[in-house]
Structures are given as structure tokens and as C-alpha cells.
């Protein structure tokens, strides 16, 4: 028995998506083992990238089988390059690059889901493609990662 999350995952739901507590101070033994896939959302600035690296390390230590970075709010090629450089240097596969999207910003100002306010937003398209790849198991692998 692995905790409440583990139990919930054994219920009638073939897919679960857990929004973890922000940050990494709380991510320790017992909080992530339930996950088969850890997505680390990372923005293109140093502290966010560094935090992503530390979360990835925690996830590896806890034995999460698949760990990916998801770049978010990417405004330029330089933004993307900064995240790519870190990820490739730290053996952290980059699953998706979500652009900065005014439609997302507007949905958040309204307190609504971007899927409802702008279902064709570029950011939504990237998440759809990310879901398709996860479902198809068509995902990048880091060489150092070996699934449990």
C-alpha cells in the first residue's frame, strides 16, 4: 500500500492527472511514487530551470519511471534554446514546448479554462499533441533513464 494517491490510482480511473503542490520543498519520499509519468513544467528563466532540474533529480531518486520537462510560456527561440540546453545537459527529455499564449493569459484573467475560451489556442494544440504522444508512448527517452 503506497498511500492515498496510490489507492486512488487503483480505482476505476485508467488515467489520473495530479496537480502537485508548487515548488519542490514538499516533494520527498512518499509524495511522487504513485506517478508513472512526471511532467515538470518549466519557464524560460534561470530559477525555474534550476528548480526543474532539482525536481527531476527528486523524481529519479523516488523511482518515477518517466520524467519529462514541459517548457511553458516560451516567447522566443532564445527562450526555447535556454531550456533545451539545460535539458540536454541534464539528461532531462523535453516533451513539449508550449508557447506563451495571449489566449491562456486572457483565460486566466477571466478565471476560465482556455479550452473553453479559446479551444484552438496554440498552447492548447501543443497540449493535445503532448497527450497524443503520451497515449501513443511516442516520447523521448533520456539515455540514463531505465523504466522500473
Amino acid at each position: 500500500m503506497r498511500g492515498i494517491l496510490e489507492h486512488l490510482h487503483t480505482s476505476a480511473f485508467p488515467a489520473t492527472v495530479t496537480d502537485m503542490e508548487a515548488g519542490l520543498e514538499h516533494l520527498k519520499r512518499g509524495t511522487l511514487e504513485h506517478a508513472g509519468i512526471l511532467l515538470i513544467v518549466v519557464e524560460p528563466y534561470f530559477k525555474s530551470i534550476e528548480a526543474a532540474g532539482r525536481i527531476a533529480e527528486l523524481g529519479r531518486n523516488l523511482g518515477v519511471p518517466a520524467i519529462y520537462a514541459v517548457a511553458n510560456k516560451v516567447r522566443s527561440e532564445r527562450d526555447e534554446a535556454a531550456i533545451r540546453a539545460y535539458c540536454s545537459g541534464h539528461d532531462l527529455p523535453l516533451l513539449a514546448v508550449v508557447p506563451f499564449d495571449e489566449d491562456v493569459a486572457e483565460a486566466e484573467r477571466q478565471g476560465r479554462a482556455v479550452l473553453d475560451t479559446a479551444p484552438k489556442a496554440a498552447a492548447v494544440g501543443v497540449v493535445r499533441e503532448m497527450a497524443r504522444r503520451l497515449l501513443a508512448n511516442d516520447v523521448p527517452m533520456a539515455e540514463a533513464r531505465v523504466a522500473d
Binding site: M1, R2, G3, I4, L5, E6, L8, T10, S11, A12, F13, P14, A15, T16, V17, T18, D19, M20, E21, A22, H26, L27, K28, G30, T31, E33, H34, A35, G36, I37, L38, L39, I40, V41, V42, E43, S48, A52, I55, L62, V64, V70, N72, K73, V104, A107, E108, G111, R112, A113, V114, L115, A123, V124, V127, R128, M130, A131, L134, L135
Partner: protein, 113 residues
């Protein structure tokens, strides 16, 4: 598929988690969206209105009990079946997603490996 979404505050992790949950549900899977953040925002990112979101009752921690084995490892047992928890505390969200609020995941709540 058991996906955990992490990241710094403000990174957009909740928006991505909520959108991903709905996209997965739209592809025909039963999706349980779990908000493990003590300041929960996933409901709104899933497209629920703020009033309904504020009324959601979190899963009480009293449903679980902790035991510790001879080597000092915690394990957690549920006193209620997960199906019952989803039934009683799951809130319907758009696209057929079921949302649960569990608050902070404490190590001694989530169990140690």
C-alpha cells in the same frame, strides 16, 4: 496512465494539468484529476466556475490510517474504498473529468516506498 504535474509556482503547471486532463477525457478515457496543492486551483483550470469550485469538499485525511513496519517504513491504508472516495468526494468537471481535492500530500499520508 498516472501523470503527476510539478513545477514552480506560477509556471503554469495547473493550467497544463487541467488542459491535459480534459484532453485525455476527450479521447475517451475516464480521467480522475487530483488537486494535491494546498491552495487548490485545478477546478478553475478545468473550467469550473469559481463558485462551484469553492464549494468542493476535500477528501478528509481521516479516511486513511498509517502503520509503520519493523524497518520504520510508513504505509498508508484507506478505511474507505477508493471507489467510495471518488463517489462521495469526486466532483464532475467539464468533459467528464472527475475532480478530487486532497490538499497537501504529506509523506506520511502518501506512504513511503
Amino acid at each position: 496512465m498516472k501523470v503527476a504535474v510539478a513545477g514552480k509556482g506560477g509556471s503554469g503547471k495547473t493550467t497544463i494539468a487541467g488542459t491535459l486532463a480534459r484532453v485525455l477525457a476527450n479521447s475517451g478515457r475516464r480521467v480522475l484529476a487530483i488537486d494535491a496543492d494546498p491552495s487548490p486551483n485545478l477546478a478553475v483550470s478545468l473550467g469550473m466556475d469559481a463558485v462551484a469550485a469553492a464549494r468542493i469538499e476535500p477528501v478528509p485525511h481521516s479516511f486513511s490510517h498509517h502503520t509503520e513496519d519493523a524497518e520504520g517504513r510508513y504505509s498508508v491504508g484507506l478505511d474507505v474504498s477508493p471507489e467510495d472516495i471518488a463517489e462521495r468526494y469526486g466532483t464532475p468537471a467539464p468533459d467528464g473529468v472527475t475532480l478530487l481535492l486532497i490538499g497537501r500530500v504529506e509523506p506520511n499520508q502518501a506512504g513511503a516506498g
